[in-house]
């Protein structure tokens, strides 16, 4: 579902998320209303436990709100089935994790190809696309290397390429530089933003790092499960 620049890609209305932790109820999100537009990079910041990751998971179709409404790229995820959410993630979302989460037995090329192959794209087309993306992230000479043979920055670049391989409309990143040194983190972010702007994609980053937030188009601060005004 392509989105035009400036169009609403993520719309959250009065989203609440409550967890039952034994006898205790934890309110991770308490009525969050937020709109993110296509072609922008938004940083969600806030102290630990403020609900940043929960918000990312809900926007990323990995979790459902207890109350409220989540509409992403025009699809209401609040009531969607598990199968719909899976397909939605595969077709429209790209994930980048703090710990990269690459499959250790696959080469960099295969890791990037994986979502495309799981989506039943042709092997040759997937390989061409993955090779191009890896070249774009500066890993043209590392395509056959396994994750264990790559540095942290290189691994995260592979993860970025994997997130982009199906050309998703939205890229969700959870502390993408949290496991990298400052210089490498800066390079990775620059690359991510360049690719996002180039392709007019929405980038949604959860971070603790004010420097990362500073590089984004917009910063949303969460505090105690609510958007701080």
């Amino acid at each position: 579902m392509p989105s035009e620049t400036g169009a609403t890609s993520i719309a959250l209305t009065e989203v609440r998320r409550v967890y039952d932790a034994g006898a205790r109820r934890v309110e991770a999100l308490r009525g969050v209303t937020l709109t993110l537009r296509a072609g922008t990079a938004t940083a969600i910041v806030g102290p630990s436990g403020s609900g940043k990751s929960t918000l990312l998971h809900i926007c990323g179709a990995l979790d459902r709100p207890t109350a409220g409404e989540v509409v992403v790229l025009g699809t209401n995820l609040t009531t969607a089935s598990d199968a719909t959410l899976t397909r939605f993630r595969r077709d429209h979302l790209g994930f980048i994790f703090q710990f990269f989460h690459l499959l250790p037995t696959l080469s960099a090329l295969e890791n990037v190809m994986l979502p495309a192959r799981l989506a039943r794209r042709g092997a040759r087309a997937a390989e061409t696309l993955a090779t191009t993306l890896l070249a774009r992230v500066g890993l043209a000479d590392r395509v056959q290397h396994r994750p264990a043979q790559l540095s942290g920055g290189e691994r995260q670049r592979v993860a970025i390429a994997r997130a982009l391989v199906l050309d998703p409309a939205i890229i969700l990143a959870d502390e993408p530089t949290g496991n990298l040194d400052r210089a490498t983190g800066g390079q990775v972010l620059s690359l991510l933003f360049a690719l996002a702007h180039e392709r007019q994609r929405t980038v949604f980053i959860v971070t603790h790092d004010p420097e990362v937030a500073r590089l984004c188009d917009r910063t949303v601060t969460l505090r105690d499960g609510q958007v701080a005004l």
Partner: protein, 852 residues
């Protein structure tokens, strides 16, 4: 200290993984169950035989026999006159057929003899009948039967029933019902007792009896009296201890017992591999816990003790389960096993299996041995590791150390050692060498099968590259990555498959060799027997007069009278086969291994003997040798004319001409009439005529050549069915191992699956990945196991079989079993992967992503 740790760590861990715990317990329990079941079955069959012998022998300390034709009753007087003999009691013993029911033991007992050796007990009027033998003396049909016999058939005093003997059907009348004690307990109660004189008349035995039982004077030494009797009676008579006859069945069953216990040993071996794997996984998953224990001061010894105690706990629970399962297996398998033993070796009438304290001890031994052996290495490994390493190093690093060339080298060494043993001259004569060769080859696969399977995955991955679906790529990568974890399961699957193929190779080779032998050496058009389709163990020998009548049928060219007698020779229970050899040699083509067969040779002239290949190999007989046979008429010497193939008995066969046999053994009876028809005559028409004319009178079984061969094949399949069952159990244990490994694997890969789900992998695709991995492990292990099994089959034929039985069989590959095993094991592995696949797919994506 160990007990709290067991409760806090071990018990909780196993309870948290109930499916894996269940699979491990089932695997170990099945190992115990198979061992116990085999022990119970063999024990009950031999015990039933002993019970029967004891029941007939009563208090007799010695017994005198003289071959199948029996001995003259007057010999009893000579025996009684021998110093040390206090009582003698002549007995007639004949196995007859009760139409529609099978073998019955007819005992002719001398009620007038003193009751010192055996007593028949009844109550009231029945006892009076027994005490008054006059009631029997003039009747050829008066019989007494045990209570159980009458109850099973709904018969009572005065009722009549029919038995088939050599001269046809005999109707007997029940004059008394006696208690199931003494001789009435013999043959599982399927016994009919007649007055000795009446039985002799009824069976046309003149004044011959089957045996004379001897009771000794209080101060007599059995060995001394035995020697005196042997000196008095001469070599035509056999003086022995009554229960020694039980050893005969024991000896005949040795091959079957060995095969069954080998299968049980394999089930134990696979169980050990399963337990090892399960315990290693369990220890590995608690690596950090155990490292913490070490860090806070727990000694190495205590950690080892903890892991071993945990294994012992698994063993105890599994033993309890295994004993119950083993008892059930044995109870349900007893009838089938007894039928096989009865059809092939000797008729046994079993009652029920009994679980004795020694079985519990055996079960405990196996049940504790399996997990304790399995736990030793993981326990030592984790105890010897430094706490720091255990706390900091990754799971895979801790256990995945090692280079693939090492197992390849070790495996190769084992394999080469196995082949060297198999090709050593000693392998043909020493069964231990054969087992050594076999075990070495199976042991070798433990080392290199996992490397080969993971290598196959790599090759497939590279060779097929883009053509593979992403799920298959990931699944193959898992196989490669988890080589160490899956190693033992792959090895046990390979061992299981190899064993199945080995036994199938034996069965196929035996069937093929048997068919060739029957086609050339047993070519008659029609076979006539009584009481049983084959002249093996429970047919009734017939009167030779029937042969003349059969010869008068239109279209019958020639009738051969074949007697297949039990014959003890040099301590072995052989078969002594006799027929009109001159004519038979003209009709058939014996498969000669050594020497030559001539129509005017010593055998045709009545002066020679053909020796079966297995007997000749064992006792080193060659053409030209002279062989002295003990006969009721005294020792008789025959010249070995040729060594021939003969599969009638795995103990050995001697073939002589009928004329000297009848003369020397005073035994004119016939086990099988083999008819050769004139050209163009339809065997089915002759078959129908024989059935019409004599079928009912003699309880005849009339088979055409094709039916006879089919029956022989069925008998072989019946023997192998027992082994097939044990093999399936072994494979089942191995497949359980695949389930155990995959459960551990998906648990370890939870986060990885979470990532895959996050990037859009559907639950079905996750299931597809796990099942592909399971299927590949199964298929690759089946493929490799099949190759190894073909080789092991050849080794088995040229070592264990040759050394134990002496048959040289051609190496025939069981192609249909290959397909069945390949598909079956692959499918079973996929089934074993269903639960792990389902579990993995149902994990919520977010929780999986956050899993540690």
């Amino acid at each position: 200290m160990i007990l709290p740790l067991l409760r806090w760590l071990s018990l909780r861990h196993w309870l948290q993984h109930p499916v894996r715990a269940g699979l491990t317990l089932t695997g170990v329990a099945l190992g115990v169950a198979v061992t116990i079941a085999v022990d119970l079955l063999a024990g009950e069959i031999l015990a039933a035989n002993r019970r029967s012998l004891e029941a007939i022998a009563g208090k007799a300390q010695l017994t005198v026999t003289a071959g199948e034709s029996g001995l003259d009753r007057v010999v009893a007087d000579r025996i009684f006159g021998t110093p040390g003999v206090a009582h003698v009691d002549a007995l007639l013993e004949r196995q007859l057929i009760e139409p529609g029911r099978g073998p019955i033991l007819l005992l002719g007992v001398d009620f007038l003899a003193d009751a010192a050796l055996r007593q028949i007990e009844a109550e009231g009027a029945d006892q009076e009948v027994i005490d008054d033998p006059i009631a029997f003396l003039n009747s050829r049909s008066a019989a007494v039967v045990p209570e159980s016999f009458a109850t099973r058939r709904g018969l009572k005093k005065g009722d009549r029933f029919t038995l088939t003997a050599a001269d046809g059907a005999h109707e007997l009348e029940i004059r008394a019902v006696v208690k199931d004690r003494g001789p009435a307990r013999a043959f599982g109660g399927d016994v009919v007792i007649m007055y000795l004189d009446a039985a002799q008349v009824a069976l046309g035995m003149d004044d011959r009896v089957s045996r004379v039982d001897v009771g000794l004077a209080a101060d007599a030494q059995p060995e001394t009296v035995k020697a005196a009797l042997e000196a008095e009676l001469g070599p035509a008579f056999v003086v022995d201890f009554p229960l020694r006859r039980g050893a005969r069945l024991d000896q005949m069953m040795t091959g079957l017992e060995q095969a069954l216990f080998t299968m049980a040993a394999l089930a134990i071996w696979v169980g050990i591999l399963l337990a090892y794997n399960a315990i290693e996984i369990s220890v590995r998953q608690r690596k950090n816990e155990l490292a913490i224990l070490r860090a806070i001061g727990t000694s190495r010894r205590a950690v080892i003790a903890l892991v071993l105690a945990e294994a012992a706990g698994v063993g105890l629970v599994a033993t309890a389960l295994g004993l119950g399962l083993g008892y059930l297996f044995a109870t349900y398998g007893l009838a089938a096993t007894a039928t096989t033993v009865s059809d092939v070796y000797d008729v046994v009438k079993v009652s029920e299996v009994q679980l004795l304290p020694r079985h519990v001890v055996t079960g405990l031994g196996v049940g504790l041995l399996i997990p304790l052996l399995g736990a030793l290495r993981p326990a030592r490994h984790v105890a010897n590791e430094s706490p720091v390493a255990g706390l900091t190093r990754g799971v895979e690093e801790t256990f995945a150390a090692g280079r693939p060339w090492k197992p390849l080298v070790f495996g190769g060494l084992f394999f080469v050692a196995g082949l060297s043993l198999a090709w050593s001259p000693a392998a043909h004569t020493n069964i231990a060498v054969g087992y050594g060769a076999f075990a070495s080859m199976l042991g070798g696969s433990v080392f290199f099968a996992p490397v080969i399977v993971s290598g196959l995955a790599q090759v497939l991955r590279r060779a097929c590259g883009r053509r593979l679906w992403a799920e298959h790529v990931v699944a193959l990568d898992h196989v490669v990555r988890d080589r160490r974890r899956a190693a033992l399961n792959v090895a046990s699957l390979v061992a299981g498959v190899a064993t199945v193929i080995t036994v199938a190779t034996y069965a196929t080779s035996f069937k093929e060799a048997n068919q060739r032998w029957l086609a050339s050496a047993v070519p008659a058009d029609v076979f006539v027997t009584s009481g049983s389709k084959m002249a093996m163990t429970h047919n009734t020998p017939l009167d030779p007069a029937l042969g003349q009548e059969l010869g008068r049928i239109d279209g019958v060219d020639e009738v051969f009278l074949v007697r297949i007698a039990d014959f003890d020779f040099r301590g072995r229970p052989l078969k002594l086969i006799s027929t009109q050899m001159r004519g038979y040699e003209a009709r058939s083509t014996p498969l000669v291994v050594e020497g030559a067969v001539s129509r005017d040779g010593p055998v045709a002239r009545g002066a020679g003997v053909f020796v079966s290949e297995n007997l000749a190999g064992r006792d080193n007989f060659h053409p030209g040798d002279r062989l002295t046979l003990p006969t009721p008429s005294g020792p008789a010497t025959f010249e070995v004319e040729a060594v021939v193939v003969d599969f009638t008995s795995d103990q050995g066969v001697l073939l002589i001409d009928r004329a000297p046999y009848v003369k020397l053994f005073a035994d004119p009876l016939v086990d099988s009439f083999e008819l050769f028809l004139k050209p163009g005559v339809d065997p089915a028409a002759v078959q129908q005529q024989i059935r019409r004319q004599w079928g009912a009178k003699y309880d005849l079984f009339v088979l055409t050549n094709r039916e006879f061969k089919a029956e022989a094949q069925e008998l072989i399949e019946q023997i192998f069915a027992l082994l097939d069952l044990l093999q399936l159990l072994t494979l089942f244990i191995a497949v359980l191992g695949v389930g155990t490994t995959l459960i551990a694997a998906v648990l370890d890969r939870t986060q990885e699956v979470g990532v895959m789900r996050a990037v859009g992998t559907t639950p079905l695709q996750v299931i597809h990945i796990v099942l592909s991995e399971a299927g590949f492990i199964g298929a690759a292990a089946a493929f490799f196991g099949t190759l190894q099994g073909a080789l092991c089959g050849m080794v088995f034929l040229r070592t264990i079989l040759l050394a134990s039985i002496g048959w040289r069989l051609p190496w025939v590959l069981p192609e249909s079993t290959y397909v069945f095993v390949f598909l079956g094991v692959s499918a079973a592995s996929v089934v074993a992967g269903l639960y792990p696949a389902w579990w993995s797919a149902k994990q919520p994506t977010l929780e999986a992503l956050q899993a540690e």
